[in-house]
């Protein structure tokens, strides 16, 4: 009897010890308390605090201006003192990952079904945005490019519907530019590096070859250059670099342009009286259909954070379709969760329906290290030198091909 009791005590003691050990080994219990530092891009800092207020997780949000992200990243990685969670524009993802700033998430996502790759469109989650075979971020907001038109001005000039192809767009733009001096048909932002790539994709081309190297030397790209330079040759686009796209659209000076949902939001806020006089429609197509850009941003966890589990918990919280829709209401940034993108209330706005439909076929820019700085700038310099200073097309493009052909996604 006595012996049994002793055994029982031992068993209980061992069980208790094991339990308390197990409790200790749960990482959450070991992580230091205190707020998570979150780097949010642009001016959405206050909104992010509002969004996560319901999660019970304390956050310390730092708003980082888009312009200074490179400098911020460099100093943070070099000093080892970064945030816990960072928002990464998709075009910067590769740079962040190359710097070793992001924690590989492959093994961690298993315990967080809310972040599973299957919750998001195939084009942006999991392997589609992994770098070096490792998943380093989860989708957060999405953004795409569609065609915006002032339907009232188009109708007044005998154009019944927004152009559906790039060819129609060029013809319509010429008609609209003929309205008089200082009037244009279309607007090409001189800083919009993805535009020629969207044109190339829509022409059925690719900018990365089968070996993973950057390669623009294709028929589809040449045809995109035709459209780009043609719009300038027709006098359909303004040539000054300080042209304001929203102002140009609202005033009707440039009644057509390809832009993102932020333009729609901007016009609605700045010129509510224009309601019903403008609309979003799918990006014009070429031979390859209407293929637009999947921009937007992901969230990643900083490589040396000591609050891994809390960070994952926060990511899972904000990536719920419900929270992503709340974020859309606050900021106008579209969700990434498939369930949220299919939400009927969201899609009741016809313009938003255009965005979400466009996102279904949209593609992410190739994850080449420093795409913006290296490829984007060289592409714009080549095209703009042709249209603005009359540089020889062949020489300019050859120079661009040579400068970028050594770059690779691998």
């Amino acid at each position: 009897m006595k012996r049994t009791a002793r055994t029982a005590v031992a068993v209980v003691a061992i069980a208790g010890l094991a339990l308390s050990l197990a409790a200790c080994s749960t990482p959450a219990a070991q992580e230091p308390s205190g707020p998570l530092t979150v780097w949010v891009m642009g001016d959405s800092g206050a909104n992010f605090e509002k969004l996560v207020a319901g999660s019970g997780i304390k956050v310390d949000v730092v708003a980082i201006p888009w312009d200074s992200i490179d400098a911020k990243l460099t100093t943070a990685v070099a000093s080892g003192k970064g945030p816990d969670i960072v928002q990464i524009g998709l075009s910067k993802l590769r740079t962040f990952a190359d710097a070793g700033a992001l924690l590989p998430l492959d093994d961690l996502l298993v315990d967080h079904p809310g972040l599973a790759t299957s919750n998001f469109p195939a084009g942006i989650a999991g392997t589609a945005t992994s770098v070096g075979g490792k998943i380093v971020s989860v989708p957060w907001t999405s953004d795409t490019r569609v065609l915006f038109t002032r339907t009232d001005i188009l109708a007044a000039n005998g154009i019944k519907s927004p152009p559906a192809t790039w060819k129609d767009l060029r013809a319509d733009a010429k008609i609209l530019a003929g309205r008089g001096k200082g009037q244009y048909g279309y607007y090409i932002p001189q800083w919009d590096a993805p535009l020629p790539i969207e044109m190339t994709w829509s022409n059925g081309g690719e900018v990365i070859d089968s070996k993973g190297n950057v390669n623009f030397d294709s028929k589809a790209f040449q045809s995109a250059v035709d459209t780009y330079t043609g719009l300038y040759a027709d006098g359909s686009v303004p040539t000054n670099s300080d042209f304001d796209q929203q102002q140009g659209f609202v005033s009707g000076v440039a009644p057509m342009l390809v832009s993102g949902p932020y333009l729609g939001k901007g016009v609605t806020t700045a010129a509510p009286e224009l309601a019903g006089k403008w609309q979003a429609s799918p990006l014009p197509s070429g031979d390859g259909g209407s293929v637009s850009l999947f921009a937007g941003s992901n969230l990643g966890i900083w490589f040396n954070t000591d609050k891994k589990q809390q960070s994952l918990k926060l990511l899972e919280y904000v990536d719920q379709p419900k929270q992503q829709l709340a974020w859309y209401t606050m900021t106008g940034e579209l969700p990434t969760a498939s369930a949220a993108l299919a939400d009927s209330t969201l899609n009741s706005d016809p313009n938003v329906k255009v965005y979400t439909d466009q996102l279904k076929t949209a593609k992410v820019l190739p994850l080449v290290s420093n795409w913006d700085g290296a490829v984007g700038t060289a592409l714009l310099n080549a095209l703009n030198s042709i249209v603005l200073t009359g540089a020889d097309r062949k020489t300019a493009l050859e120079g661009f091909f040579t400068a970028t052909k050594t770059l690779t996604v691998k």
Partner: protein, 292 residues
């Protein structure tokens, strides 16, 4: 022995600061310029490799680097005389009276020098704007077409340099005004007695006596033009088509946008060498007329 060491003891604090913040960074940059260091170095130092003078050969074959150097040369060539002559002229005029109006004008000319560059870029950006800018509005009143102040590659150089001249004169005017206080009244009075007019006095007495101030302003202004950065950075970001990309902007973009730290270091060493050579030449020329 002890006496001989004393002067070194006195200069050592200044010397240590110079070594720590002047010479040491240059040596580090020189070492980095021989590597392929980029942002992946932060992930693992194994990604940094010694590549000898490859960065330099690549740099000298880079047309954008030559364009940036050319732009910097153009800026310095026109900017240095513009700033020196303008600030000297204004200082001579301001020095003609000590009345309250003139002293308030001094403050007025100094305002651009102490205004934040961001505010300056906003205001000048609006002035220069093609569609809504004040300049184009005024021109339209007299029937002149829209001028693309910041979009035309040639004109953008001028527009950006104009802001830098406007901003750079203030401090130099103060330097010249201070130097003008040092011109002995006796010389001017003696010249007046001998029948010298205002022009004669200015050109034969005042300006020669300002020699050292002019030399100082020329050297510092040259260096600041060779390091020209703020105005094109905030107004045009080096555009259109690289027309306002100075050497410093080129380095900034290579280093902090493209994260090519090795390449940017090579460029900065080249720029450092250019500035050092030009400044040495200026100092040598100065020595030649020391006996004036």
């Amino acid at each position: 022995m002890r006496n001989r060491l004393t002067p070194y003891l006195f200069v050592s604090p200044a010397l240590l600061l110079l070594v720590a913040f002047g010479i040491f960074p240059i040596l580090v940059a020189a070492v980095i310029s021989t590597t392929n260091m980029n942002i992946s170095a932060f992930a693992s130092w194994n990604n940094v490799k010694f590549i000898g003078i490859d960065n330099y050969t690549k740099l000298f074959a880079d047309t954008t680097f030559w364009q940036a150097l050319g732009n910097t040369g153009t800026f310095a060539l026109f900017g240095v005389p513009a700033i020196v002559l303008l600030s000297l002229g204004v200082a001579l005029l301001l020095n003609r009276s000590q009345s309250r109006f003139f002293t308030s004008l001094r403050a007025f000319y100094f305002i651009p020098a102490i205004t934040a560059i961001v505010a300056i870029s906003l205001v000048w950006g609006y002035l220069y704007n093609t569609q809504f800018g004040l300049l184009n509005y005024l021109l339209s009143l007299v029937g002149i077409d829209q001028v693309q102040w910041l979009s035309d590659p040639l004109l953008a150089k001028f527009s950006v340099a104009l802001v830098a001249v406007w901003r750079g004169t203030g401090l130099n005017i103060i330097i010249f005004l201070a130097a003008l206080q040092g011109v002995p009244k006796e010389y001017l009075e003696a010249a007046s007695l001998d029948g010298a007019g205002e022009w004669k006095k200015t050109f034969t007495i005042i300006i020669p006596l300002l020699r050292f101030a002019i030399f100082f302003v020329v050297v510092t202004t040259t260096i600041s033009w060779l390091q020209f950065f703020d105005e094109p950075f905030v107004l045009t970001d080096g555009g259109p088509l690289g027309a306002t990309t100075s050497a410093s902007i080129f380095l900034y973009k290579q280093g902090f946008r493209l994260n090519q730290f090795g390449y940017a270091s090579a460029g900065s060493i080249v720029l450092f060498a250019i500035i050092a050579v030009i400044t040495l030449i200026q100092l040598r020329l100065r020595r030649a007329d020391d006996e004036y």
